[in-house]
């Protein structure tokens, strides 16, 4: 028997547009997937991938555009309709109830609520069959809390298959997997497409996309930036599509470098995903050290370590030639590290505090701002006013709640808070993410000015363009390992892209 000719794509999105306030998260995105096909959705963080999938699954309602599953329009904003139409989604953050068994997680929502009896026996048989057919070994009786991350993902996939999904969407599925687990996942996906499922594979890892996809759609700034059959493209071309055309670097004065301001020697971390593995890095005075890499490759661990939030599990941290003994956020501030956190709303500021209060969050115990536990309110206010002037912070005044400020002005305050201390070391973690063009230029100029003053800057960014434009030396981080440093101009984006994809490391598997 032959399969009937496919008249409809398994899934078709047409002109999906979604706005959050002023930001355009999805701008007229169209894409389709055929049964038996793996389409990779490739793009940087913030390119609009997750928003698109949330619209598809009914968590958000699109401002414009239509969704069709097997030729039928899907009503917007209804997860239940998406499920019923056969859309199965494996979220990046698993949606499993940890204290329940695998079987219960699979059964959840599959039977009418008011029917007596759970139907466990029949379900068990079907799950055993599905596990066998798709190579998804998992014990239905085990509690999810006892499962490894890889096993949990198998449960998520089984959940979709159990509901007879025709379209399986995986959001960054390998971010949490070991290479071996990722290989097993790919085997499962190949079996799934062989049985006629359509798969959308969301990723920003080039080598994975090359390994599993038939076709790739690249998103950038909420738009489709390009589309290609995997057989007709290569990783370097995809990398260029992802980050945009290579732009000429802005004029940057030659560096006047000094000694090593901060040295990480053989540091490892514990409790991160992935952890740093015996990483060594020198931050040199008067130099911007850029850290490029695909998100989730150890940037979080390195940033936490430098910011004082994490202690090294092995190795040591030296500042100005001396090893540091007790390491904490307070110690990092005390050692003169200016820290610009990745998440300015969550880590950088307290939304319900005033601008003035946020301005002294790290330094309130200094003699300048308080004596014997009493706050010098005039000094705090004067400091805030100086920052507002010096850093061009647009706000109603120092007593305004920081929540009311735009992202750019919030970032200017954080920048002013740390740069006014004339720091020897600066940790800038995604300093311009989500900012408008004007604020981007402002932040970058200030970082360059600090470099000219002799500060050692560590710039962490997933925007390769930004790293290449600003950094004097670029390292690539992949799976918690660090590439050698490449001097400014000695490497193309495509070359760095290969390192980002994990190639070139000695012990690359």
């Amino acid at each position: 028997m032959t399969l009937p000719a496919q008249r409809w794509p398994a899934l078709r999105l047409t002109g999906i547009t979604k706005r959050f306030g002023a930001a355009l998260a999805n701008d007229g995105i169209s894409l389709s997937v055929q049964p038996g096909e793996v389409v990779a959705l490739l793009g940087e963080n913030g390119a609009g991938k997750t928003t698109l999938m949330n619209i598809l699954f009914g968590h958000y309602t699109a401002d414009a555009g239509t969704i069709e599953v097997a030729g039928r329009a899907l009503p917007p904003g209804q997860p239940r309709a998406a499920l019923a139409a056969g859309v199965g989604m494996v979220h990046q953050h698993f949606t499993l109830a940890e204290n329940l068994t695998v079987l219960d997680n699979l059964l959840l929502g599959t039977r009418p609520l008011w029917r007596p009896g759970a139907g466990r026996t029949a379900a068990r048989a079907r799950i055993t069959a599905l596990s066998r057919d798709f190579g998804l070994a998992v014990d239905p009786g085990a509690r999810v809390a006892e499962l490894s991350v890889g096993e949990r993902q198998r449960v998520e996939i089984l959940k979709a298959l159990y509901r007879q999904a025709r379209v399986l969407i995986l959001d960054e599925p390998t971010a949490v997997l070991t290479p071996q687990e990722a290989e097993a996942l790919f085997a499962t996906l190949r079996r799934a497409v062989a049985q006629g499922l359509a798969v959308i594979f969301i990723s920003h890892k080039l080598h994975e996309v090359m390994a599993i996809a038939d076709r790739v759609v690249v998103l950038r700034h909420g738009r489709v930036a390009g589309e290609a059959r995997i057989a007709m493209t290569d990783p370097a071309r995809l990398a260029a599509m992802m980050v945009g055309a290579e732009v000429a670097a802005p004029a940057v004065a030659p560096a006047r470098e000094g000694g090593v301001a901060m040295r990480l020697s053989g540091v490892s971390t514990a409790g991160f995903r992935p952890d740093l593995r015996a990483l060594s890095l020198d931050l040199v005075a008067g130099r911007i050290t850029g850290l490029a890499g695909v998100s989730g490759n150890g940037q979080g661990a390195l940033a936490a370590l430098v910011a004082g939030l994490a202690r090294p599990a092995a190795g040591r941290i030296e500042i100005a030639g001396g090893a540091v003994a007790d390491w904490s956020p307070r110690a990092a501030v005390g050692h003169g590290i200016a820290r610009i956190p990745e998440d300015r709303h969550h880590d950088g500021t307290i939304g319900d505090f005033t601008l003035a209060e946020n301005a002294v969050l790290e330094r309130l115990r200094d003699r300048r701002f308080s004596r014997r536990g009493w706050i010098d309110r005039a000094a705090v206010r004067a400091h805030a006013e100086a920052l507002i002037r010096g850093y061009d912070i647009r706000c109603p005044g120092p007593e305004a709640r920081i929540r009311l400020l735009s992202g750019g002005n919030m970032q200017k305050l954080i920048l002013g808070r740390v740069l006014e201390e004339d720091p020897a070391i600066i940790l800038a973690n995604q300093p311009v993410r989500g900012l408008d063009i004007g604020a981007v230029g402002f932040v970058q100029d200030r970082l360059l000015a600090a470099r000219a003053r002799g500060a050692a800057v560590l710039l962490i960014s997933e925007d390769l363009e930004e790293v290449m434009a600003l950094a004097d030396v670029v390292h690539v981080i992949s799976q918690g390992r660090l590439s050698p440093g490449f001097a400014r101009g000695s490497m193309t984006a495509a070359g760095l892209g290969l390192w980002m994809a994990g190639q070139g490391f000695d012990d690359a598997a």
């Binding site: 959840l108 929502g109 029917r115």
Partner: protein
């Protein structure tokens, strides 16, 4: 002490003391399994005690009176759920407010209904109804099966709730919504609908527990009659590790302590030990159980966390 433990009256009293606690504990357990701490329990029990008693006093009959109590509890449950589930307000503040509201509303209504009375009027309450056959078993028989029909209803509710939670799609959904509401939403079920259902039904059970006091134990309504029983039920849910069976066992254990301390006070040895120590024990055991369970994560993971769509 041995002679107390061997006396039939001790075991009968234990089951009688445990019965209202079983209803209310199961009600609280249902709320908490769905992720909502219901501190309104104390007041809802008062409201149930009053509403049930008043319905019987007004001549509605005993079983309709139980239904009136259940409906009263559901109404306060709906208020609780509206504020904590739909609007995501803090569960402890709302719970305290509901307790204050339900208690004072009951007392107010009692005063309005009976402005002049000094001694509370009695009603014809549920009589004991020995289960033929079973009540003849020595010791256990009279304790478990020579009680009022409301006690048998408590057994039934316990079994039914345990079965619903463990064996039905609805119970599974309620357990899941207390563990990870995002999982429930991802499977196309309504988080707020499930939580509201659990809080409304659970509050109804709490009120029936309160009505046991007026319809089956004291035969009249008076102030302070609930006397902290609701808070005890919160402890019993913790003590029982959020399991219906263990929580019911905890209710029996607490009732045994209570029945024992009354009887021990009359013995020379018992008079030497302050009875308050016995009464303190369940609370201290519950705190110890919480500490022990903090490592095993038996607490519903999403307890007290309001769920707002689209937020993570």
């Amino acid at each position: 002490m041995i002679d107390i433990l061997l006396s039939v009256s001790f075991w009968v009293a234990m089951v009688r003391i445990a019965s209202p606690l079983i209803f209310a504990t199961l009600g609280e357990l249902l709320c908490e399994r769905a992720g909502v701490l219901n501190l309104g329990i104390e007041g809802i029990m008062v409201a149930g005690a009053f509403a049930g008693w008043y319905a019987a006093y007004a001549g509605l009959g005993l079983w309709p009176a139980v239904a009136v109590a259940f409906a009263t509890g559901m109404a306060f449950g709906a208020l609780h759920a509206g504020l904590t589930v739909a609007f995501g307000l803090s569960q402890h503040v709302v719970g305290i407010g509901i307790t204050l509201l339900a208690t004072s509303a009951s007392y107010y209504a009692y005063r309005l209904a009976l402005p002049e009375v000094t001694s509370p009027p009695r009603i014809e309450a549920f009589a004991t109804w020995p289960v033929p056959g079973l009540s003849a078993i020595p010791l256990i028989g009279p304790a478990l099966f020579d009680q009022t029909p409301l006690t048998y209803l408590a057994y039934g509710v316990a079994v039914a709730l345990a079965l619903v939670l463990a064996r039905t799609p609805l119970g599974l959904a309620i357990r899941a919504v207390g563990e990870n509401p995002a999982a429930v939403e991802a499977q196309g079920l309504s988080v707020s609908g499930l939580r509201t259902l659990a809080v409304v039904a659970g509050s109804g059970l709490m009120a029936v527990g309160g009505s046991f006091l007026t319809l089956s134990a004291f035969n009249s309504f008076f102030f302070e009659m609930v006397n902290g029983r609701g808070w005890i039920c919160i402890a019993l849910v913790v003590f029982g590790g959020w399991r219906p069976g263990k929580a019911v066992a905890g209710a029996f254990l607490f009732a045994a302590f209570d029945a024992l301390q009354i009887r021990l006070q009359q013995t020379p040895m018992g008079a030497a030990v302050p009875y308050q120590l016995f009464l303190m024990l369940p609370y201290l055991l519950s705190i110890a159980a919480l500490i022990a369970m903090s490592r095993r994560a038996a607490v519903p993971a999403a307890l007290m966390l309001p769920f707002r769509k689209g937020e993570r």
